[in-house]
């Protein structure tokens, strides 16, 4: 087993452990913190996959900004614990677990048998490459994203703003 494989197993352990913890925690705040752990693990994996820039973005944007937003809202609403992590009364539990197992089995079956064509290039995800592509080839979706963010700001403000009666 090479050093890279050991690293992968380490980071994958962090990712899966965090994800499982998201499901098992009863308090949404703890779930949110578990998700941050997952995101940090993913960021490490991105770096091993030569996606350095995205690794940083994952930490700054996802683990930083988005998760902080979640934590703020959880604190703001002062949400109480759930009685149980999952609802024992929902018939969905009996349906979801086997269906999830089937989904996982199917995905793993297909995905692990994959045998793709040989790599066509050798480009790392450096800031220069991401930046130049974003403003040339990906200009249209990039600009469309800016419209999307503007719309999200307007929409979120409308929904969350307190009205004077």
């Amino acid at each position: 087993m090479t050093f890279e494989q050991i690293l992968f197993i380490l980071f994958a352990g962090i990712v899966v452990g965090g994800a499982a913890s998201v499901l098992l925690q009863r308090n949404p705040l703890y779930s949110a913190f578990s998700l941050i752990t997952t995101f940090v693990g993913l960021a490490c994996l991105y770096v091993t996959l030569k996606a350095q820039f995205l690794g940083v973005v994952q930490i700054v944007v996802y683990a930083g900004a988005i998760m902080m937003l979640f934590v703020f809202v959880i604190m703001l609403l002062n949400i109480r614990d759930e009685d149980t992590a999952v609802d024992p009364n929902r018939f969905l539990v009996y349906l979801t677990i086997p269906l999830g197992a089937i989904l996982l089995g199917a995905l793993l079956y297909v995905v692990t048998k994959v045998n793709l064509a040989q790599p066509t290039g050798d480009e790392g995800g450096t800031v220069e490459r991401i930046g130049t592509n974003l403003l040339t080839k990906y200009l249209l979706p990039f600009e469309a994203t800016s419209v999307l963010i503007l719309m999200a700001v307007v929409g979120a403000l409308h929904l969350a703003k307190r009205e004077k009666e």
Partner: protein, 522 residues
């Protein structure tokens, strides 16, 4: 500054000219937000007319785009991120029509709800921008961004009446189901990218055709299993937006809880947008997967979904007492009919898809206008009984509602019949036995649908009047309703102009698809 590698050329002015309608719509949406601030309280509805003017200008830009490029279609722009062809031109027109109609009928509704605000109209324009990006997108990423722009806006619009618990709840349910489906779609896209190494739909199609032609790729792995996985995941994500069975559960709840003006919008605009995506992805990107040797292709999968969608939609509609829920199920059934045109794979089928979508936009928003007119302060006006005696109270409105209902049911001399004729006829024309069976199922379903459409008609014409208060109808609403009803009748008797428009889109599909399927048939 020296870069480490050569900079690819920037998109040119020519590229920018090709997205002028989208740019204008975005600018008008932003301007609407500013106009709203400038207007005094009580005058906010002027934003609506400002937005209508904006949509008018965008429509002109669209027409100009067609006249300038008519002989060179299809045109690619922005490194093949966007594609201007007959399909995107016609569908963008449908989106503008849907947006304009729903803005007209929103003004009165928001007055009654006391929620008259400029953001509402700006959000409708943003959603329309998203749909237009979906229509021109020919790369997975531009499609995804357009889809999300539309979907996020519609979630907000569904929850627009934030003090109304039903609106809240509908927004919540719709949001969760919607994000779930878009996550599934995204996962499917990642697998598709993994199999083909491309994100552009045209290049994906070429790569897949290469695989299916040679049977297998280098190495022992069979890429077709992954392709099918990607197809199923992407298909599930898209069918959710169309509200096809088994991904329809959100539709009745979201339609009932949303403000009625938003229900009118989301039952036509986003649905048409989801159809253009379905056509783009299935016909342009995954065309070679239509039929595969030894494995199910998407035509048979879509056939099963279409049969289920029609049946569940029509049977579900029969038992409903709430008009909005009933129309929700009816629109599920209509979605099933339209799907038939996509899977038939003939020019006639594609023509039927476009034709029926245009007519569906007119008749569905027309029907919702009547429902909005029943809505008053304190009275929800959403039960079928609320239509009782409408003919005695407002004969004109009742007759127009009759036209919309007959057209939804597909009675001859209305345009709804012509649409269904093309859709069902294309199945029979294709000559495959299972498609003929599907056509039979569709006809049986149409017969079931007569029952619940007839309930509206009976309530309006035969039942005694219950509620004396006048309808809340503004003059513009009356005009658009009348125009819709006249167009529905006109295209039922003289459909040629609309067929010409529909053929513009149908040709752009069948030319591209003919090449793609030529490679694929092994």
């Amino acid at each position: 500054m020296n870069l480490l590698f050569e900079l690819p050329p920037l998109p040119t002015l020519r590229d920018t000219m090709l997205i002028v309608p989208e740019l204008m719509l975005t600018l008008f949406a932003c301007a609407a937000l500013v106009v709203d601030i400038a207007l005094p309280r009580g005058k906010k509805s002027l934003t609506a007319w400002f937005c209508l003017v904006g949509i008018g200008f965008v429509a002109l830009a669209l027409v100009q785009q067609y006249t300038l490029n008519a002989d060179k279609l299809p045109v690619d722009a922005f490194y093949q991120m966007a594609r201007i062809d007959g399909l995107s031109l016609v569908f963008r027109g449908i989106f503008l029509l849907a947006a304009a109609l729903s803005i007209v009928l929103s003004v009165k509704y928001l007055d009654v709800e006391n929620e008259q605000r400029g953001e509402y109209y700006a959000l409708i324009l943003f959603a329309t921008t998203g749909m237009m990006f979906m229509a021109i997108g020919s790369d997975l990423i531009s499609i995804y961004i357009g889809l999300e722009l539309m979907a996020l806006t519609v979630y907000v619009l569904v929850g627009y009446l934030k003090r109304n618990e039903r609106s809240n709840e509908a927004a919540m349910k719709y949001f969760f189901m919607g994000i779930f489906s878009s996550a599934v779609l995204l996962y499917g896209m990642s697998i598709l990218y993994g199999v083909t190494g491309r994100t552009n739909l045209g290049q994906i199609s070429e790569a897949i055709a290469g695989y299916t032609q040679n049977g297998q790729l280098q190495g022992e792995g069979d890429p077709r299993m992954m392709l099918i996985l990607a197809l199923v995941l992407i298909g599930a994500g898209l069918l959710f937006k169309i509200a096809a069975v088994p991904f329809h559960m959100w539709a009745p709840d979201a339609y009932e809880g949303a403000p009625t003006s938003v229900t009118a919008f989301m039952s036509v605009g986003p649905k048409a947008a989801a159809y253009v995506l379905l056509a783009r992805v299935l016909l342009f990107g995954l065309g070679p997967l239509r039929d595969m040797e030894g494995l199910p292709g998407w035509s048979i999968m879509l056939g099963v979904v279409a049969a289920l969608t029609m049946t569940v939609g029509n049977i579900g509609a029969v038992t409903q007492e709430n008009i909005k829920r009933m129309l929700a199920y009816s629109s599920i059934a209509q979605a099933g009919y339209i799907m038939l045109g996509v899977l038939a794979g003939t020019q006639m089928g594609y023509r039927g898809v476009v034709f029926h979508l245009v007519i569906y936009t007119l008749m569905n928003t027309g029907a919702f206008t009547v429902i909005i007119s029943l809505h008053r302060k304190g009275i929800i006006g959403e039960k079928v009984d609320d239509l009782n005696g409408l003919f005695a109270k407002a004969p004109g409105v009742a007759v127009m509602m009759l036209v919309f209902m007959l057209s939804l049911a597909g009675i001859p001399t209305t345009a709804g019949f012509i649409g269904k004729y093309f859709l069902f006829g294309s199945l029979i024309q294709s000559g495959k036995p299972w498609m003929v069976y599907l056509a039979v199922i569709a006809v049986v379903n149409t017969a079931i649908s007569f029952y619940y459409y007839a309930r509206f008609i009976r309530a309006m014409f035969l039942n005694p009047l219950k509620e004396e208060a006048p309808l809340t109808l503004s003059q513009p609403m009356r005009v658009t309703m009348a125009v819709s009803a006249v167009l529905v009748m006109l295209f039922g008797i003289y459909p040629q102009p609309l067929i010409k428009v529909a053929d513009l889109a149908a040709k752009s599909i069948s030319t591209v698809y003919a090449q793609a399927s030529g490679i694929a048939s092994n």
